[in-house]
Symmetry: C2
């Protein structure tokens, strides 16, 4: 897989530059394009983003955008994506289709007979091909963890090995040891497999979801594809309003990345928002409903135990996790231990049957700098450690969620304790936010903490958008959140010395030093904005080949002076001549002068 030839995409995929790549000219291959790297079998095609540079080289980048950026694939939101993994799942022969749980009006939040009857918006029902749910046969262990433990390298594992540029055996080992998860519900065959673990690239999750106050199904599907377009590795659908089941169906059928949920939110809708009326039966029914739809991982707040609730009473900001506060309210109302904690083993059996991955929620995470690393938080973490051990007994893949609001000097303790207590299970953190004082900029307050904690071992980062604490993110906020977190993740990959991570930086810096502006844009995390910012001051086309930019103007460009120094300095003459051969002609044409006089 490390072979250069293998990495080269088939020529038929070369001219697949999306409109936003800034290169619509047919036949010209500069820009970035969807490509595929084939594995050991023809149906194992791993998507990559291939950036073709003006100097003839190309750079291969990880790609999360799904078939939407492949102009040869005809995607249609009402039909859903092709079930990429279906044959792999069927071929294993350890799952079966079954009738499944009937979808009821209350799944979409309709409890009472309404004058309009049934779903508020009947057009919203997903029109794609009907499919019966699938689950593990009795006695079969159908999780990637079970396969890895018995030594099997599944097509999913090979897929991520190609994606991560590592040996498949490394993937199997990490999953078998519980240090990585490969979330892949048997009912979500549309996903392109990905892996979450500290030995792999740091991943980013984007949250979407409507609420009672605003937003529609279509918007949520659009947010999902938009988030993956910019690099989200997984998406959590946190919808809490109406049409919750239907929204999720649309999102799942159209998602190339694993989808996570918090089943408790929907369960609460089913009891009309009265936490005390929640029961294990209603919760369990909701988990099965979502598992049959194909949810790949579920946040379960089973660590919020009755005795921990009083530990939050003197906090500055109490319980800030929605799931955590619902469970705490339930525990207090009944003066009983959490039904999630009490029924955790049965829950493991259900998740195992669909290969749903646990994301053990940190319901008691700190919501302010003052509450960071307190007893409530760490008491819950110790319980998550216990639950992790139980989940592994049931072959359920498991990751652990982490905070929250934490000042920089208290971040490392979080990852160190989590790794110790949870046997190195992947840590999945929200930020952490390193100060409380910047609402409207919490993508930045948290991006700082996220980069640090990922460097120290966090496997996946849950993004935070500029709207955090203030409102629901719109399209621009989702993009800003994802880009900020891709920066944090990549900065961590660099700091961890992840193999190959720096090649991307090197390629971009080479382009920068050699004034290959188009290459610099195309290699950027966000080519569109980079190009737009450049063009704001120097819009003309020649400025894209200029040996200076608007920052310093032609007289002061340090890069230009620096190139001149290289040229003058004998020791590196050969290297310079080789490396800049392509540029020398234009440079000479411009008089070969470092400083251009300014007209009076």
């Amino acid at each position: 897989m490390t072979n250069e030839d293998v990495r080269t995409p088939a020529s038929s995929q070369r001219d697949g530059a999306p409109a936003s790549s800034g290169n619509g000219e047919a036949g010209k291959s500069i820009g970035w394009h969807k490509a595929y790297v084939e594995g050991s079998r023809p149906d194992l095609r791993v998507p990559v983003r291939q950036v073709h540079l003006t100097n003839g080289q190309s750079v291969t980048l990880y790609d999360t955008s799904g078939p939407y950026t492949d102009p040869t694939v005809d995607t249609e939101v009402r039909r859903g994506l092709a079930p990429l993994r279906e044959n792999w799942i069927i071929a294993r022969g350890d799952t079966e289709e079954y009738e499944g749980r009937p979808v009821r009006p209350e799944d979409d939040g309709i409890k009472h007979t309404s004058p309009r009857g049934g779903l508020r918006n009947l057009d919203a029902v997903f029109p794609g091909r009907p499919r019966q749910p699938r689950r593990g046969r009795a006695g079969a262990a159908v999780t990637q963890l079970a396969y890895a433990r018995r030594g099997d390298i599944t097509p999913e594992m090979e897929f991520v090995a190609v994606r991560e540029n590592v040996a498949p055996e490394v993937v199997r080992e990490e999953i078998a040891a519980g240090r990585a998860v490969l979330p892949a519900n048997v009912n979500h065959p549309e996903i392109e497999p990905m892996i979450i673990g500290k030995r792999f690239l740091v991943k980013v999750n984007a949250n979407i979801g409507n609420s009672a106050v605003t937003s529609s199904i279509e918007e949520e599907v659009e947010k999902m594809t938009w988030a993956t377009r910019w690099g989200a590795d997984t998406v959590m659908d946190l919808s809490t309003g109406r049409n919750i089941h239907t929204t999720r169906e649309w999102v799942l059928r159209n998602s190339p990345v694993p989808i996570g949920t918090v089943p408790l939110y929907q369960a609460l809708e089913k009891v009309d928002g009265r936490a005390e009326e929640l029961t294990w039966e209603i919760y369990k029914d909701t988990v099965i409903e979502q598992a049959e739809q194909g949810v790949d991982y579920m946040t379960v707040h089973a660590g919020v135990r009755l005795p921990y609730v009083p530990l939050t009473a003197n906090r500055k900001t109490g319980i800030v996790s929605r799931g955590g506060s619902i469970m705490a309210a339930w525990c207090l109302a009944h003066h009983k231990e959490s039904f999630l904690y009490e029924n955790f083993e049965e829950l493991c059996e259900i998740l195992a049957a669909y290969d749903v991955t646990y994301s053990l929620g940190d319901g008691l995470r700190p919501g302010s700098i003052a509450d960071a690393n307190d007893e409530a938080q760490f008491a819950e973490l110790r319980t998550l450690g216990e639950l992790n051990t139980i989940a592994k007994r049931f072959n359920v893949q498991t990751m652990i969620e982490g905070p929250g609001h934490v000042p920089m000097h208290k971040i490392k303790e979080n990852i160190d304790l989590q790794q110790e207590i949870c046997d190195e299970a992947p840590f999945y953190t929200l930020g952490p936010l390193t100060t409380d004082v910047a609402p409207a900029y919490d993508h930045i307050t948290s991006g700082i903490g996220a980069a640090m904690i990922a460097w120290w071992g966090t496997a996946m980062l849950c993004y935070v958008t500029p709207k955090e604490h203030l409102g629901l993110p719109n399209r621009d906020d989702v993009k800003t959140g994802v880009i900020t977190y891709k920066i944090a993740a990549h900065a961590a990959d660099l700091a961890k010395g992840h193999p190959g991570a720096q090649e991307w930086d090197d390629a971009l810096s080479d382009a920068r030093f050699e004034f290959r502006w188009e290459d610099q844009f195309n290699l950027a995390l966000d080519p569109d904005t980079a190009r737009q910012f450049h063009d704001e001051t120097l819009p003309a086309e020649p400025a894209k080949t200029a040996h200076f930019c608007s920052m310093c103007g032609p007289k002061f460009c340090s890069m230009k002076i620096s190139q001149d120094i290289r040229r003058e300095h004998g020791g590196s003459q050969t290297e310079v001549e080789e490396g800049m051969a392509q540029k020398s002609k234009e440079f000479a044409a411009a008089g070969n002068r470092v400083y251009l006089p300014i007209a009076d």
Copy 2:
């Protein structure tokens, strides 16, 4: 100074809320207001930002915005600010006014007789009151370092002690030890003194400056006041185009914060951009020109020595500092040691006469992840250590500039080495940028590194805007850069356990938990954007007192549930009742229910 009463502003200053504070109503004191804390003498009034909360409490924040946010002060850009420090300087009796160097057309970049003659824009000449330049009398040591060493606590030192809420003796000690600088040219009496050192609040510098390609004088003055409005502690005027002298005059006369420059840029203009034609005499003349105008600190790239230039030949991005590349070009052209290095002692004498602070430039800083922490960079740092020792002999206050592009795992080595080599002189770093792959988001790539290096001891951070590497920052970019860096600085203050730093976070988190939306906005680093983001989803006025927000809607608000838990949980009943007394009435009026049913 730690007395609460002292911190309370005079009532006459209370209703000075700027329009942007969202509270224009006369007589209503909620919002934020300019106030002053008086020192030991009536002419020592330290500006603060006083935030009056709806619960009757108030929070005092550091304020850099100058008289512009004081509605009782009539500022006029053509007249300049009042010379706050003038009497203090005169009273010391160790400086004298003198004729000064005549201002010549070439100071503004006009070399040849132009058909239009003289300055391109004659209106641009600063019309404010003429003032003769001032310098130390022969034999007098007129720097804050000299005063501190001999045990004097100057009004400037007392001013910063009040500002930082520490004892004046701490300020004096830190300056005397060279661990802090108080940049304050005797010709810049308009500034409100501030201090840069690791025992004080982390500071932020914003760069402005026109270039040959774009922007005007008026824009630069406006950028300066705009940057300080959002929290810039110093501003560097990096103008390189025409009207360079005149632009600086306007900026200085209107700036409440210290102004830094890179005299080499202007010197190069005087030789028409031909680095090899630079001489010590032209450079010296430029330094005197700028010192007479009142520049408070100057970046001097005296560490770029001839033998270090070849060390950059095999770098990925060569020399990326403009000053560094100019000096390297000069060294190579003449095959001689740098004239800055050779004449450093004479330069010290000049700077000492005006109390100009050195910012010893890192001309060989890495411009890419690949070049971080290399031999060129650290060779220069060792020379900066030597120069720091010499500067101190001449009583010149000195800080040291740092990189650049550095991956997270290589950041700490930078600050540790700098502190060791430079006797703990204040470190002043540009970011560092933790990855190269995100042009258009380099405020974020660098904000991450900035927060970390500041935690570890960097005293001042040079901001990076979203336009870095792409173009000149506009007004929005300046604001985004400053806010991002204030976040990094404050996150570092928290991590360093700076006394009082967390009070700001605590006040905001209290407001958040108690749904005091207006207080949350007014305490925010950027109240305008926080309010705007909230209003995008819930614009109506009642939503500002609502016990939920658009993120979760009324049914899912964890804070609300959490408050309910507090109310139910006996142990904290009293506390809850006290803390939420103000809110209980509205809450009860709404039915006192945690979950509101949604209409069918």
